[in-house]
């Protein structure tokens, strides 16, 4: 636990706390010498207590000016959650509807549907870390892995903007994998791929991807937003059709994912409702114990020092009220208050 000050320069006022040792807060009296009063232990004690209280009041006030705080810190907690790397297709076709048309009237594009349900998903997962990667012709790092929910939400809000270019899924996957911090324990790691099509992955990149997947071991979910009439994941080649990645990219991407030896599931959604179901299913599946870091924000301690200062000052005020005119008390004999003057 460490402490800090908002404006440390205020501490230059601290020597003022020594002033009570030199001067008394009590009135001058017409007695010419302190030696006139007899020494007594109680008076000395009261005098010193008042000095110390005054020093304390000044010191605490100075500290309140400086703005003391306890540093925020990160503590590890256990809960349910995961590190989720979201990989979103931003190719131009994502802006079409599930029927493959430009959205008209109340229709919703694939990107808008994905945006709506993904925002819900992010809001529901309280402890997860999210990273967002987009891909079209090239992979684009949108938001590195973070626990700032507002930042992740802002990144997902941007996914239904006009897309660009083509679908280069291989490089996108490589960048989504790079979202996970290197080394460390293999925790609950998830890649959520949202795309409306697949593409051939360059064989050179395939090998590299295989190695990366083996190293990082994420669970992979592929949310395939299928345009009606388009080829699906489980489509077998028709008679006379070649069974190549070029002809059936979805089927071959699925086969590639299955061959990776990691937890993998594909969801084929042909409409907004199916997207919602798929996301709810992923939410249900990814409930593994997860060690996450919670940041305890810095705690302001100004009030504490103000309380100390106010308390010490009130005692001084009470002492001032106990102070009496020397002329009256002189007749009554040496009271502690009288002797206190000696301070």
């Amino acid at each position: 636990m460490s402490f800090g000050l908002a404006s440390p320069l205020a501490l230059f006022l601290l020597p003022l706390a020594l002033a009570p040792l030199l001067f008394s807060p009590l009135r001058l009296s017409p007695i010419s010498s302190v030696s006139a009063a007899p020494q007594d232990a109680l008076s000395t004690l009261v005098a010193w207590a008042l000095r110390l209280l005054a020093s304390l009041a000044i010191g605490a006030s100075t500290l309140a000016v400086a703005g003391p705080f306890r540093e925020g810190r990160a503590i590890q907690r256990y809960g349910e959650g995961a590190e989720i790397s979201i990989l979103i297709d931003r190719s131009a076709s994502m802006n079409e509807t599930f029927a493959g048309r430009t959205p008209a009237g109340g229709e919703e594009s694939k990107a808008s549907a994905a945006k709506r349900f993904m925002t819900d998903f992010v809001d529901r997962r309280a402890h997860d870390l999210f990273g967002v990667t987009a891909f079209s012709t090239s992979p684009i790092m949108v938001m590195p892995m973070t626990n700032h929910r507002a930042a992740v939400r802002a990144a997902i809000q941007a996914i239904d903007r006009p897309g660009l270019g083509y679908t280069n899924i291989g490089r996108g996957l490589a960048m989504a994998l790079s979202q996970f911090p290197a080394g460390g324990e293999i925790e609950s790691r998830v890649i959520l791929l949202v795309s409306d099509g697949a593409a051939v992955i360059d064989p050179r990149i395939q090998d590299q991807l295989r190695a990366d997947f083996r190293k990082i071991r994420p669970n992979l979910y592929w949310l395939f937003l299928r345009t009606s009439g388009a080829k699906g994941i489980s489509d077998q080649p028709d008679a006379g059709e070649l069974d190549t990645p070029q002809a059936l990219p979805e089927r071959h991407l699925d086969l590639f994912f299955k061959s990776l030896g990691i937890g993998y599931r594909a969801f084929e959604a042909e409409g907004p409702a199916a997207v919602a179901d798929a996301i709810a299913e992923i939410d249900r599946l990814e409930r593994r114990p997860f060690r996450y870091v919670e940041r305890i924000p810095r705690k302001d301690l100004t009030d504490h020092s103000l309380i100390v200062a106010a308390f010490a000052t009130s005692v001084l005020v009470v002492a001032k009220f106990a102070e009496t005119r020397l002329k009256q008390t002189a007749r009554a004999g040496a009271s502690p208050q009288f002797a206190k003057r000696a301070a």
């Binding site: 404006s7 205020a10 006022l13 003022l16 002033a19 009570p20 030199l22 001067f23 008394s24 807060p25 009590l26 009135r27 001058l28 005054a54 009041a57 000044i58 006030s61 100075t62 309140a64 000016v65 400086a66 703005g67 931003r90 967002v132 987009a134 079209s136 012709t137 090239s138 992979p139 684009i140 790092m141 949108v142 938001m143 590195p144 973070t146 700032h148 507002a150 930042a151 992740v152 802002a154 990144a155 809000q157 941007a158 903007r161 006009p162 660009l164 270019g165 100004t302 009030d303 020092s305 103000l306 200062a309 106010a310 000052t313 009130s314 001084l316 005020v317 001032k320 009220f321 005119r325």
Partner: protein, 332 residues
């Protein structure tokens, strides 16, 4: 009681206590603070890789330098400010994320700016004016001001009939065009398709003239000119498009067209004040901590109690005694 009220020490102490109590009663006030909403758009096209800046003594590309400036901007903006990020290549700005609060999401913003890279570019072209106009439109839709960082080098060069026409409303969006790059032409690094640097662009590797649209009026004087077969002249003209410097007059002209401000990116800091000078202020109420001020006032009370009043008394006593001695001397 009246005697106490006449006692300067009691008054000082009472004042100090009153200030400490007031600190609990009125701990904070609301003040209006002006922040800014900014959509920062960074040009990540090839010419932005030119290394004509230096960071910590090492040569740095325009993108690296601009990233450093953006990180400083995020750190320097006053608190109710929001920053969104977009990258630009070809003719399209690509929105990475909508503006988010800089103070709450500082770490996320800083990391996101740190990962910007020319490798995110999905096309090689760099049509600055088209990109700028679309970025203005994007800023208008997100309701933010625009910060557009570019070196102003159109690739391929603009055709003879000039830049596309700005169809937005001039001055509707405020903001800043930030010219990146030095004034001296510098070679542009070249990369292969796996992202490895392979040298610099040569004079014969880039187009120096656009051959779209109508030929320029002086084409008839060119060698090998033929109205049908070679309307632009017989040979490709060699220019200096393989070298890059900040195209300041062009960017100033674009700033004039769109109603944005223009500034040259010279050092990584100071961007926040330049931007706040042109950005629309976004006033919002922010709490202002009054407690340190009250505590300081209490300290004034204590200083009066323990220093000023006792010292004043000592001085008056000395003067009195000195007066008394001189008077007694006179009597003698």
């Amino acid at each position: 009681m009246i005697a106490r009220l006449r006692d300067a020490r009691f008054l000082s102490l009472a004042f100090a206590l009153a200030m400490l109590v007031a600190a609990f009663a009125f701990p904070r006030a609301e003040v209006v603070r002006n922040g800014a909403d900014v959509l920062a758009t960074l040009d990540i096209t090839g010419s932005m890789n030119t290394r004509d800046y230096s960071l910590d003594g090492a040569p740095a590309s325009r993108i690296e330098f601009a990233k450093q400036a953006l990180r400083r901007l995020v750190a320097d903006l006053p608190c109710p400010s929001r920053v969104g990020l977009a990258i630009f290549t070809e003719r399209e700005p690509f929105l990475l994320f909508e503006p988010i609060d800089v103070c709450e999401n500082f770490a996320a913003l800083d990391a996101a700016i740190g990962t910007l890279d020319w490798r995110m570019a999905w096309e090689g072209d760099s049509r600055i004016s088209a990109g700028l106009f679309r970025a203005v439109e994007m800023a208008r839709r997100t309701g933010a001001d625009l910060l557009f960082i570019t070196d102003g080098q159109e690739a391929p060069p603009l055709p003879a009939y000039g830049a596309p026409v700005f169809d937005g409303q001039r001055g509707e969006i405020s903001g800043l065009i930030l010219g990146a790059g030095g004034y001296e032409p510098a070679p542009i690094p070249k990369f292969d398709d796996r992202g490895r640097e392979t040298g610099f662009f040569g004079v014969d590797e880039v187009p120096h003239e656009s051959r779209f649209g109508l030929p320029p009026p002086d084409a008839e004087q060119r060698e090998g000119y033929n109205p049908r077969n070679a309307p632009f002249g017989g040979e490709m003209r060699a220019g200096t498009e393989h070298l890059s410097s900040v195209r300041e007059p062009y960017l100033r002209q674009l700033a004039e067209t769109t109603g944005l401000g223009y500034a040259h990116l010279e050092k990584p800091d100071g961007l926040a004040s330049a931007l706040l000078a042109v950005a629309r202020p976004r006033p919002s109420l922010a709490p202002f901590d009054l407690r340190p001020a009250f505590a300081a006032a209490a300290l004034v009370g204590f200083a009066s109690l323990y220093l000023i009043v006792p010292l004043a008394e000592i001085f008056t006593r000395r003067r009195h005694s000195r007066l008394a001695t001189t008077r007694s001397r006179r009597i003698e």
